[in-house]
Amino acid sequence: MKRTFLTLAAAFLAAQPAFAQTQPPQEPEEFVADVTGAEDSVFRVAVPVFATPQAASTAAGNTTNLAQQIAEVIVTDLRNSRRFQPTGPGGLPAPSFGNVQSPNYGTWQGLGADNLIQGYVQANADGTLTVGCYLFDVDGQSQRARQGFVIQPGEWRRAAHRCADTIYGSLTADSGFFDTRVVYVAESGPPGRRRKQLAIMDYDGANHRFLTQGQWTVLTPRFAPDQRTITFMSYENERPRVYILDMASGRVRPLVEGPYQTFAPRYSPDSRTIVFSMAQNGNTDVYTVPVAGGTPRRLTNAPGIDTGGSFSPDGRQIVFESDRGGSQQIYVMNADGSGQRRISFGGGGAATPEWSPRGDLIAYTQTGSFRIGVMRPDGGGARLLTRDSGEGPTWAPNGRAIMYQRGLGRGQVWYVDVASGATRRVPTPLEGSDPNWSALRPN
């Protein structure tokens, strides 16, 4: 039944003419999560335990254990992406080290696997690990992809994520999103006196650590695409403004000097520019400024609140929200501020726009309901992905999933698969808000 509804809704949407800018599109369609709807593109993958030439102890544990754990992380990654049906490592035969690159295809055909991932973990004399990862086409009896990493033992999860990204990239037309991190605000304490700390973790919640101690309220952290810096807002010395944190040195500096409050920072795709908001005498506008320093350039000058600027992936446009029309709605402009035009006309109002890295969609928070939705950059095709209250969508680097804060006063970090609407919680030690999903990590 659900599937029928989806099909009808899609046909209805397709029948709509392209929206003229003055013509309001229809209200966003209710989105019905239907995981089986994506069945055609789900790949069946067998992931047996990795092999090791000989059990050896490392700084991150025995290679036999690591071989098991790496396979488990790969299975979890692939399953969480909703585009794979992985099996293993439990219940599958364990290949020997010698068979890692030459699987017994007949065995795997008998088990019904279309694709097979085998790999190994080897401890090296210098204390590093070598992790090898191979993807095989079982029916075609051929190797489809392989990837090898020499890593410090403590980085074994990264090797597993990168292996899963390799598989994702080989079997789908996209790159994966597993070797990524999340910066967010970890929250604790009673309402009204919340302790808010910057924290960083892998996309799956592993390797969690705090970046600030919570003396000052911090909000809305964002990774630079090159991940060398993070921008965020802080109430340090009760003077709220945007800061830049240098990840290598730990140094923190204000983005711009001056008496006015700055907030809502986002990086440009080349990491060189930040679009942000500045409130001046009751009027908030969108500005850009070079990360290296310089004079802010004012892009909007409408009376009212213009905020939430987010660059398009080619850096040429900026999507932002404005209440200049009476309610919060989404607008697009060129990166120099010219050509401002409203794209959303939904009655519910729309805020916190985030341009997808693929360029095809803009994620937003529907005001009032606090549901997360997506629309095309022309404002058409709007649909809601989540049912519960939340805000602040942030894209996976391949544009296939959106992380967001679920819950308002006491938030959690979740992500939703854009195709199916399936949601998943990212485990965090405290409550969480304002997540930002990084690009794929540089090698």
Partner: protein, 176 residues
């Protein structure tokens, strides 16, 4: 109380509680739950037993001398109500009497706006208060604004009674 730091915290908490008793219910929305009269008599100075101990120009003096240190706003609005202007008239009078005191005007929003929008909205509210106080003769250099958006709620329910208490500006006189 063997730990002096803990003792200090307890004393601070007690001071906050005293200040809370001294501040009066705002003459406008929202009403105090339970209809308790917060002591609005003597709104212009004659404080019951406080005058002898209060330092002129102090935060306590301000709290006792004005009908409220805060004004409230309608949803998604920064327009001052008639009640709000009346409160600010009294605040301006006090500020003009205590011309050496600089104050910070906090702007706050309820939880129903998105985070960044609410930061802008809080600034807009604080600025509306600043402009009004200026129009009543308070020098602009004495008025600093800060927005907290929805980050510092005072009422924690998800009902209108709580929301209306959080949509506020607070005029903060520095601690002595």
């Amino acid at each position: 109380m063997k730990n002096p730091i803990l003792k200090g915290v307890a004393l601070t908490a007690a001071l906050i509680a005293v200040a809370g008793c001294g501040s009066r219910r705002p003459p406008t929305l929202p009403p105090t739950p339970g209809g308790v009269d917060g002591g609005q008599n003597g709104a212009n100075g004659n404080q019951d037993g406080w005058n002898g101990t209060t330092v002129p120009g102090s935060r306590a003096d301000f709290i006792q001398s004005v009908p409220s240190d805060r004004v409230f706003f309608a949803l998604d609005s920064h327009t001052l109500t008639a009640e709000g202007r009346s409160v600010l008239d009294a605040q301006a009078q006090w500020l003009n009497t205590n011309a050496r005191v600089n104050v910070t005007i906090e702007g706050h929003a309820d939880e129903r706006g998105t985070r960044e929008y609410n930061l802008a909205l809080g600034e807009r509210r604080a600025n509306a208060v600043r402009l009004y106080l200026e129009s009543r003769g308070v020098a602009s250099g004495r008025l600093q604004t800060v927005t907290y958006g929805k980050e510092r709620p005072e009422a924690f329910g998800s009902d209108e009674a709580s929301h209306s208490r959080n949509r506020r500006s607070v005029t903060v006189v520095p601690e002595a």
